[in-house]
Structure formats: structure tokens, C-alpha cells
């Protein structure tokens, strides 16, 4: 007995991790997107050699989800020391107080950088970051198509009139191709092509102080009208799709970025393309963005972090990064002028364009602003809304965002207090009591001694511990958050009762998302259940090659949603499988014929993929259910001479009932919570056609940083799902009490 205790004792302490205190070396943590991991490591090794007392830990982020990680880390109060940020993110992080003010450092260096990039790192007249690299968009055009259409390949269009003339010429000569391409279906690309047009005609979205949105009406309307005119002859797709179509020679002109310089030769080395400044009405303006290096406030070693930033933005390293073939150019004036690599004609055009480029208005609510912009652009392209209506809608929406923002700025915010933990624990207890009151405990079954019941708790204990800690606690925690105006960046300023819930329920976007989610659930659940049941029955019959067939039907869930989504995006594209099927059946194609870019077809497309992804698992459950049916029952029915259908209806189905309930419940939950498919394929677009509840939640919480509101959406969703589940389960088990 003694040894038993000792061994438990030792086991317990061996679980406590030993901390190794290494020699005192400053360890910096650095998060970045831009440079491939191995090459960045080499650069950092050089840095470590130069400053032996500093060690840099690097974490490679990816573009799709990097922002989520940064947001979560800020919310939890642990961030890296140095981080790469996109230029549009900087104002909101600076505003939230997450970034270190490095004005003193920047005062010395600011003349070294391209002047337009400085506005990306400036907030309230203080500097919160150092411009690292710059990127801009130029006009790419297909020289071969130009030549065949009788246009001069060395004279690309310079203004709107010429551009439209060229587009018409190309459209006449090549009715099957797309003379121009307009990005849609994403949040962050539609305005990247539109705003330069708008700027070039002399428009500005906001006044200088960024307090009011007053785009010039005539300019905006003209510009949108021109855009609509172009869209008749344009490929409407996501940027990545446009780049690929251009590389395969199907697009005459597009406005795109430097990554094409390596993409096009890789896909189609023979494509002869030219690059020119973006055509503009008065001046040839383009959009400039870039990457910024910022230091987080929580860093313990601000001086060392500055050394790292200084090293990474030094001329030598910038040239090295530029030479490694990224799509960006350095932010230093010196490098742009002197570096030989950048003097090739292909790179030069980007540097030339940067002179005429404009950065975005540095506003912390940019993510919301860009959403409204994209919405208006897509609206006028898909629904042919009159430009004047779009204009008044946009001005109203933008002014609303600005006024809400300036109001919220006045509130003082704090980080979450620890009392929320106490509150959560109290909440857990309250929840338990509440549910207990609702369901009086009835002891059923045979009476046992209390000891035996205690043994049952032993079975439950390990599960219970994890459940309470990692599920119930966060659950109650976020329930409390849903009653506050908590934002991961700003902290919170106080409880606001049911305001979040009321605001969300009133939001027309939420109502739309709810409707889409209903459609989605109604459309997918019956199909995937019937399909799964059918396949399970067929497999149970031991048809030829049964093992292979079963494994293949199961296979879709083995690959990650990202990969499946990219495959399906290809199937849904203009030249993809679904369109060729339509052609084969002599059915008309939808317009636009890229299904995911078509507001009418996009939701159905996501539904098809969802069924494809999920029905295999339900099939496995049904198979297990079929195998668990006592064979004697079936044998008896054979002997009694029952018909196949009757046997299925009166013996198999009732026996399968628990499994059917299980599958229906799982399926309902999954359909209501559909997120990865939407996230990977359409991101709620085009024109909000695939906005579902969880995507709305994600957008609110992680793009607009309204976590309180987002949590409220989560709990509304919980109520909705719960309602449907109760409905389904009572319907399925009505008149019977086979549930114990």
C-alpha cells in the first residue's frame, strides 16, 4: 500500500514540467508572412551572428488565417515581439493600443522610405510601425491578342476612353475570350481595381480628417457607370482565377500585382504579356499597399526588437528579399534607385507605378469599409443597380460606420478583469441549478445502493474534468462576453445587457444569413441522409467489390476541406466539370458561368460540396446500424415470406431508428454550423449569396472585432439548433417511449 502511494506521488510530480533555465539570452519572437520559411531563417541567422546576444524565434503565418491568430493572441495578452502586418491592418491595431509607439525611431528614418508608405504606419501623428515592402497593381495585357486584334502591342491604353475602345476591339475580334477582368467574390479585391479608377478621376472617399464620407457624386457615378460598361465584356471572378485565366491566354487585360511575374512563366512560359500603368481618367493612379513591421507593446525587449526591425528594413536585407523573387518591392528609396535587380523593365514598371499610387485612408474600421465597398461594387455588377442609388447607399453606410466609430472612441476601455473567471464559475453553478430545476431528477430503473451510483461517477470523472474545464468554462465565459461590448483588440467598457442580441437580430445581414442557413439545412439534410441510407443498404447487400466501394464512398472526409474546396472551385469554374455536364446535356449555362461567382448558384454549389463531404460518415453510421440488427429478425421475416419493401419498412427502419435519430441530429447541427466550406470557397460572397450564420459570426468576431456581438450570434444559433433538434426528436419518437 505504501509503495502504491509513493508511486502515485512520483507519477504526479513527474507530470510537472521541468523548466530549463538556459543562459541569459534575449529571445525575440517574430511572426511573418512574406518570405518563405527557410529563406527567412537564413536572414535571421545572419542577424543572430551580428548580434550574438539575441536569438530570434520565427513563426511563419499563412495569409488565410494569420489575422485570426494575431487577434486571438492580442485578446489573450500574449503576442510576439515583432510582427509583420498588412498595411490595412495597422490603424486598427495602433488604435487599440496593441502596438508600441516608435515615433522617435521613425523620426530619424522617415526620409529613407517612400513617402506614400508612411501614411500606412502613422496613426494620430505617431508612428507605430516601419514600412517593410511595398506592392502595387499595374495593368497586364496580352500582347499576342493585341496584335491579332490589330491593336498596337506597345501602346497599351492610357485612359478610360482608350481602355473601352480596346475592350470593344478585343471583344469584336475574340467573342469567346474576355477582354478585361474584374475581381469579385472576395472582400479585399473588388475595391483594389475599382478605387484606382475612382481616384484617377479625382475622387476621394473621405475628407481629410476621416470624419465624414463625402465621395464626389458625379465622379463616383461616372466611374461606376464605366465599370458597369466594362463588366459586359469582363471575366468576373476571384483574383486568383483571373491570374490563371490571364496566364492561359483567355483574358486580354487585367489589373494585378507582381506575383504574376513568376506565376505566368511557370504556367505558360510562351505567353507574351506587357505591363503598363493603370489606365486613368486624369492621372494614372493605382493602389499601393505593403507590409509593415510593428513591435507589440507587450514586448519585454523593445530595444532588441527595434534592432531586429532595423536590420530587416536595412537596404541590404531589403535587396536580398527583393532578389528572392517576391511580388513586392523594397520600401527604401535607395534600394529602389540603386538595386540592379529592380532595374529590369518588368520590375521597373512597378516602381514607376508606385510614384502615381495612392494608399488607402488609414482608418481602423477599414475592414467594415471595404466590405461596404465590395458590396456596392458587386451590387452594381450583378444587379445592375443604378449608380446614383449605389452612391447614396454607400455614403449613408460609410457615414454610419464613421459615426459609430467616433462614438465608441470616447468610451474608455479596459482589459477583461479577473472577476469574469469568478463570474463564469458562478455561471456554471447557476446553469446546473437552472437545468436541474427544469428537469426534476427522477431515479428510474432498479434501486441500487448509493455506493453503486458513486461508482458510476468514477466512470464519468475523467470525462467530467475535461468537460468542465475546456468546454463548460469557455462556454459560460463567452456567454458572459455576449452581454458585454468586448472586443479582442480594445478590451471592454462594461456590460450592455441584451443590446448585442437586439442589435444582431435587427441587422438585415443577420436575417439574410439566417435565411441562407435555413435553406442550407433544408437542402442538404434530406439529400445526404437519403443518399447515406441508400448506399448503406446497398453495401449491406454485399454487392461486388463491396470493400472498395465502401472505402471510396467514405474517402471524401479523409481530405481536408481546404483541398476539397480548391478542387470544387475548379469544377465550378467556367471550364470545369459542372459546366461541361450542362453542355453535354444541352442545357443553358448560368450567367456568369462560374458557379461560385453567380449569386443564384453559389449557395447550391456550396450545398453540393457539403453533401459530398459529409454523407460518407453518415453512411458508415448506417452501416454499423444495419449490422447491429439481430439477424434472427430478418431470418424470421424471410420465413414468413415478407416482401422486400415490407421487410425494410417494418423491420429494418424501426431497428435503425436510434441511428436515424443520431444522423439527423448530427446532420442538423453540421448544416447549421456550416463554415469551413463557405470560408474556403466563397467567403460569404458573391454579393452575400452564401453568407451563413457561422460565417457572419466569424466576420463579426474576427474581422470587425466585435466579439461580444459574435458570441451573441453563437447563442442565438444555439437556441435555433436546439429548437429544431427538439422538434425533430419529438417528431421521430412520438407515440413511443423506447428511450430510457
Amino acid at each position: 500500500m505504501f509503495w502504491k502511494h509513493i508511486s502515485i506521488f512520483i507519477l504526479f510530480f513527474s507530470l510537472i514540467p521541468f523548466r530549463v533555465y538556459a543562459e541569459k539570452k534575449v529571445e525575440l519572437c517574430f511572426w511573418q508572412f512574406l518570405v518563405p520559411e527557410r529563406r527567412m531563417r537564413a536572414i535571421l541567422d545572419e542577424f543572430e551572428k551580428k548580434y550574438p546576444h539575441i536569438k530570434v524565434k520565427m513563426q511563419q503565418l499563412n495569409w488565410r488565417d494569420g489575422l485570426d491568430k494575431i487577434t486571438t493572441s492580442i485578446a489573450a495578452g500574449i503576442t510576439s515581439d515583432v510582427c509583420e502586418l498588412g498595411s490595412t491592418w495597422t490603424p486598427q491595431f495602433a488604435e487599440s493600443g496593441a502596438l508600441l509607439d516608435i515615433s522617435e525611431y521613425m523620426q530619424e528614418r522617415k526620409d529613407e522610405f517612400l513617402p506614400i508608405l508612411l501614411s500606412c504606419v502613422e496613426w494620430n501623428n505617431q508612428y507605430y510601425g516601419v514600412p517593410w515592402v511595398a506592392g502595387t497593381r499595374v495593368l497586364f495585357y496580352n500582347k499576342e491578342l493585341f496584335r491579332q486584334a490589330g491593336l498596337d502591342p506597345e501602346k497599351p491604353p492610357k485612359n478610360w476612353e482608350e481602355l473601352y475602345k480596346y475592350v470593344l476591339e478585343l471583344a469584336n475580334r475574340f467573342p469567346d475570350l474576355y477582354p478585361f477582368a474584374i475581381p469579385v467574390g472576395e472582400n479585399y479585391t473588388p475595391w483594389q481595381t475599382f478605387l484606382p479608377f475612382f481616384w484617377s478621376a479625382g475622387g476621394e472617399l473621405f475628407d481629410n480628417s476621416l470624419n465624414k464620407a463625402e465621395p464626389e457624386k458625379d465622379v463616383f457615378v461616372d466611374c461606376l457607370r464605366f465599370y458597369q460598361k466594362l463588366s459586359h465584356h469582363s471575366l468576373l471572378a476571384r483574383q486568383a482565377q483571373i491570374d490563371r485565366s490571364f496566364a492561359s491566354g483567355k483574358v486580354g487585360m487585367m489589373i494585378s500585382g507582381g506575383w504574376n511575374l513568376s506565376l505566368i512563366p511557370r504556367l505558360n512560359p510562351r505567353l507574351r504579356f506587357g505591363m503598363a500603368l493603370v489606365p486613368g481618367e486624369k492621372k494614372q493612379v493605382s493602389f499601393a499597399g505593403g507590409e509593415v513591421l510593428a513591435i507589440f507593446k507587450q514586448t519585454k525587449y523593445p530595444e532588441e526588437a527595434k534592432l531586429l526591425v532595423h536590420y530587416l528594413t536595412s537596404e541590404e536585407v531589403q535587396n536580398q528579399i527583393a532578389r528572392s523573387g517576391t511580388s513586392f518591392v523594397p520600401s527604401l528609396k535607395n534600394s529602389l534607385e540603386k538595386e540592379a535587380y529592380l532595374s529590369s523593365p518588368q520590375r521597373k514598371i512597378f516602381i514607376e507605378q508606385l510614384k502615381y499610387a495612392q494608399t488607402l485612408p488609414p482608418h481602423p474600421k477599414w475592414s467594415q469599409i471595404q466590405e461596404e465597398l465590395s458590396w456596392v461594387i458587386e451590387d452594381s455588377l450583378f444587379n445592375k443597380t443604378a449608380p446614383t442609388d449605389s452612391f447614396s447607399y454607400l455614403t449613408e453606410r460609410l457615414n454610419k460606420i464613421l459615426s459609430i466609430y467616433s462614438k465608441s472612441r470616447k468610451k474608455s476601455t479596459t482589459q477583461l478583469p479577473n472577476s469574469i473567471v469568478v463570474l463564469s464559475i458562478a455561471g456554471i453553478l447557476a446553469l446546473i441549478v437552472l437545468i436541474n430545476v427544469c428537469y426534476r431528477i427522477k431515479t428510474r430503473g432498479i434501486k441500487t445502493k448509493n455506493q453503486r451510483v458513486l461508482v458510476l461517477y468514477l466512470f464519468l470523472l475523467p470525462w467530467l474534468a475535461i468537460f468542465l474545464l475546456f468546454y463548460l468554462f469557455p462556454f459560460v465565459y463567452s456567454l458572459i462576453l455576449s452581454f458585454t461590448d468586448y472586443s479582442p483588440l480594445r478590451g471592454y467598457s462594461g456590460f450592455c445587457g441584451f443590446n448585442n442580441y437586439i442589435e444582431v437580430l435587427k441587422d438585415p445581414e443577420f436575417q439574410k444569413a439566417l435565411l441562407h442557413t435555413f435553406y442550407f439545412a433544408l437542402g442538404t439534410c434530406p439529400v445526404s441522409i437519403l443518399l447515406a441510407l441508400g448506399c448503406a443498404v446497398v453495401i449491406y447487400k454485399k454487392i461486388p467489390m463491396v470493400r472498395f466501394i465502401q472505402a471510396s464512398l467514405f474517402a471524401p472526409i479523409t481530405i481536408s476541406v481546404i483541398v476539397a474546396a480548391s478542387m470544387f472551385s475548379y469544377f465550378y469554374s467556367s471550364e470545369g466539370f459542372f459546366n461541361s455536364m450542362l453542355d453535354f446535356l444541352h442545357l443553358p449555362r448560368p450567367f456568369p458561368d462560374n458557379w461560385l461567382m453567380n449569386p443564384k448558384m453559389a449557395l447550391i454549389s456550396v450545398m453540393i460540396m457539403h453533401v459530398w463531404l459529409s454523407f460518407g460518415f453518415y453512411m458508415v453510421i448506417f452501416t454499423a446500424g444495419l449490422y447491429s440488427i439481430p439477424r434472427e429478425l430478418l431470418e424470421a421475416s424471410y420465413i414468413d415470406g415478407a416482401q422486400t419493401w415490407h421487410r425494410f419498412r417494418y423491420i429494418v427502419l424501426p431497428q435503425l431508428k436510434p441511428f436515424i435519430i443520431l444522423v439527423i441530429v448530427l446532420n442538423t447541427i453540421k448544416a447549421f454550423q456550416v463554415f469551413p466550406e463557405v470560408f474556403a470557397m466563397t467567403q460569404g460572397g458573391p454579393h452575400g449569396a452564401t453568407l451563413t450564420l457561422v460565417y457572419y459570426l466569424y466576420k463579426t468576431g474576427f474581422h470587425q472585432f466585435e466579439m461580444g456581438k459574435a458570441s451573441a450570434v453563437g447563442y442565438i444559433l444555439l437556441v435555433i439548433i436546439g429548437f429544431f433538434l427538439i422538434l425533430e426528436v419529438t417528431f421521430l419518437t412520438r407515440g413511443k417511449s423506447n428511450e430510457r
Binding site: 519572437c29 467530467l464 462556454f475 458508415v620
Partner: protein
């Protein structure tokens, strides 16, 4: 049980299942096709990538030449280079931009006419270093097709990841001309190079190891914990049973994005960030599994177990001797579900880890996806590789499902 449906019915059913089977397998066919084909193959002709042909006009920054005159001869648009009296230190170099992954190619082919007895052909990288192989011109003044196997080129001197151009160097002191009709690279028709790339990249093994370790532990934990808890839930009433059960169902219904920030804060407070603990322990229970298990166990008739209880058997005996064997199919489903979920789970591992050593496969795979540029070949081969363990796990559990049927005699009790 004797199977009573005849062969005709079976074949009919087989035909019936073909359409879903086809639609399920089609994307897989595409994935594997992308994985085993070199990336540029779509833009190629007859298994070769044409780098330059006589129909392509020469533009200034496509062909570049040092010390030589490039001109295009009228409509024939052959490339035509003449030079005069150069020395060996300043050879004529012609270069053409070329950014490709050479793993996909077998050889370089050139069709030319020249009066030079030999010249060299090779590649240069962005730093300007070159490597090349000599071509002997036997039929001076005639059209010749020469092929260089890429194997014969010494690639140790240049940085293959930074290839910049195809370079033709001629160091003949006497003047001369060269005319080029076509340059192309011959593809391997099917290549395992993408798989090789992925497997040999130092981190893939580590990602795989992490994924296998984490997913297996999560799967085992889930099987054990959820069977035990499901048993407790299904078997008998005890205080708080309904409460816990309902709150567990609520856990299934709340979207995970809502719980993300609190969970992250919790794990940070526990100082578990970037450890296996953070990747495993919170996921040892998936609420959905308990639901599944309870649903299955509650279907088992209680009569015999009650007899056992009265006979003095403990709950442990009942659990291990009676419940576990019957539950095999349910365990199989739980196992498959858990393994698949944790194998493919992306967001939590991404947020909870900070270093490359701790990454799981999906987190590593996501790095192949750039903002606008996706590394398709590597992404597809990596993801088809990463599907293999899941298929293996499925095949293993599939056996258990059928074994459950064979041993399922307890239902008759």
C-alpha cells in the same frame, strides 16, 4: 446468415451505386492527377513544354544577349544571332527567362542551324551563376535537333530554387551565326517528383509525426472516455445526469469560433501554449462522441445486465465484459469520427502552436497556399499523402464494424 438476394439483384444494386461512386471519386482523380503531373503540363504539347518557338516574336526583354546581335528575320521570325570577332573571355550569351521546377523535366531540346562547331547550353540563377553542358554541332549549316539530358548537367553550382534563365553561350573566336527554331523541355509524363519534394522537405516528417501522435492519442482518449461516460449516461440515473447531458448537447450546438478566445486564454493561463498538452488534452473528449455512444448503449437491452448486477457483478465487470464487446461498431464510429476530425483540424493547432516543430499536417499544408498563388502540385501531393493514414484507420475500423456483427449474439439475450 445466408444471403438470399440473387446475383441479378446484386449487379443491379452495383449499377445503382455507380453514379455516387463516380461523383465521389472524380475529385480524387483530379487531386491525384495534379499530384503526379508536372505543373505546367496544361500549357504543353506532346509532353513537352515549349520554351520558345519560331512563331514567338522576339521582344526586348524576352531574349537578351551580351555581345551578340539578335534580330528577327522578317516574317519567318527565326531567331538569328550574328557575331564577329569575339574572344573567349567575352563569349556571346543569349538568355531567355525561365522559372521552372526542373524536377519535372527529363531533357532540354533545341532545334538550330549554326556554323559554329560547338556551343554550350545551360541555366543561370538569379545570382548570375551558370551551369551548362556542351553541344557538338556535327552538321554545320543544317537544321539540327539536339537534346541534352538534364542528368548530364552539373547542377551543384547554382541555386536551383532561383533559376532565372536558359542560357546559350558561344565562345567561337571566329564570327558566325546561329539560328534557333525551337527550344523545348521534355516532361516526365508522370512524375513522383512532387511526392519526393514533399517527403524530403525536412518538416514534412515532423508534421506527420505530430499529426499521428496527436490524433492517435486523441482517438484513444475519446474511445475510452466517451465509452465510459456514455455507459454512465445510458445506464442509470444519477444526480445531475440530465443536467450534464443537456449541457453536453449544448456544447455540440455552439459554434467553435465562439469558444475559441476563452479556450485560448485558458490554455495560456495554464501555460500550455505550444505544447502537446494543449493539442491533446482539451480534445480528449468530443461531446458528440458521448452522444453517439449513449445512443448506442441505450439500445442494448438491460435485462441480462440487471441479472448480472443482482448476481453481484460490479459495474466494472459489466462494462468490460458485456458493454465493451457489444459496443464495437459504435467504438469504430467514434474512432473514425475522432481520428478524422483531429487529423483535419486546423484552427486550434494553428492558434495553439508557435514553432515549426509543433505544427500538425494541416497547419503545414496551409503554408502552401499563398495570398494569390497556390503551390498546387505540392499541396495536392501532400494532401493525398496525408489522406493515407485516415484511410488506414478507416479500413481497420471497418473490420471492427463487421466483427461487431459477427459477435453480436448478445442481442438475443
Amino acid at each position: 446468415m445466408k444471403d438470399r438476394s440473387g446475383p441479378i439483384v446484386k449487379w443491379l444494386l452495383f449499377i445503382l451505386i455507380l453514379p455516387p461512386l463516380f461523383s465521389v471519386l472524380l475529385p480524387f482523380y483530379m487531386i491525384i492527377r495534379i499530384a503526379i503531373m508536372p505543373e505546367g503540363l496544361t500549357a504543353s504539347e506532346n509532353g513537352a513544354m515549349v520554351i520558345w518557338t519560331e512563331h514567338d516574336p522576339i521582344s526586348q526583354y524576352q531574349w537578351r544577349s551580351k555581345n551578340g546581335m539578335i534580330h528577327q528575320a522578317g516574317d519567318t521570325s527565326l531567331i538569328n544571332v550574328t557575331w564577329q570577332g569575339i574572344d573567349t573571355e567575352n563569349p556571346v550569351t543569349l538568355s531567355y527567362p525561365f522559372h521552372q521546377n526542373l524536377d519535372n523535366f527529363t531533357s532540354l531540346e533545341i532545334i538550330y542551324k549554326s556554323n559554329a562547331p560547338s556551343f554550350t547550353m545551360g541555366f543561370s540563377d538569379r545570382q548570375g551563376k551558370t551551369t551548362s553542358s556542351t553541344i557538338k554541332n556535327d552538321q554545320q549549316g543544317d537544321w539540327v535537333t539536339s537534346r541534352i539530358a538534364l542528368k548530364s548537367i552539373d547542377f551543384s553550382r547554382i541555386n536551383l530554387q532561383n533559376l532565372n534563365s536558359v542560357v546559350i553561350t558561344i565562345d567561337q573566336p571566329a564570327g558566325g551565326t546561329i539560328q534557333i527554331k525551337k527550344i523545348k523541355c521534355l516532361y516526365k509524363s508522370i512524375t513522383l517528383a512532387n511526392f519526393k519534394n514533399v517527403m524530403l522537405s525536412a518538416s514534412f516528417g515532423r508534421y506527420l509525426l505530430n499529426s499521428v501522435f496527436v490524433s492517435l492519442l486523441i482517438m484513444l482518449g475519446n474511445i475510452i472516455l466517451s465509452t465510459m461516460a456514455g455507459f454512465a449516461f445510458a445506464w442509470r440515473s444519477f444526480p445531475l445526469r440530465k443536467t450534464l447531458y443537456i449541457s453536453m448537447i449544448a456544447m455540440i450546438m455552439i459554434p467553435m469560433q465562439v469558444l475559441m478566445i476563452p479556450t485560448f486564454i485558458l490554455i495560456q493561463e495554464l501555460e500550455w501554449l505550444n505544447t502537446y498538452k494543449a493539442l491533446i488534452i482539451p480534445f480528449l473528449i468530443y461531446p458528440i462522441n458521448i452522444f453517439l455512444m449513449r445512443q448506442y448503449i441505450s439500445k442494448i437491452p438491460t435485462a441480462f445486465a440487471e441479472v448480472a448486477l443482482v448476481d453481484g457483478a460490479s459495474y466494472f465487470t459489466i462494462f468490460f465484459r458485456i458493454i465493451l464487446p457489444i459496443c464495437k461498431p459504435a467504438i469504430a464510429i467514434v474512432g473514425i469520427n475522432t481520428f478524422v476530425n483531429s487529423w483535419n483540424s486546423f484552427l486550434y493547432p494553428f492558434i495553439l502552436t508557435n514553432t515549426a516543430e509543433m505544427r500538425t499536417l494541416p497547419v503545414g499544408l496551409a503554408l502552401y497556399i499563398g495570398l494569390f498563388d497556390v503551390d498546387w502540385a505540392n499541396l495536392m501531393s501532400a494532401s493525398s499523402l496525408s489522406a493515407i493514414p485516415v484511410i488506414l484507420v478507416f479500413l481497420f475500423f471497418q473490420k471492427q464494424i463487421i466483427a461487431g456483427m459477427l459477435s453480436g449474439t448478445t442481442h438475443n439475450l
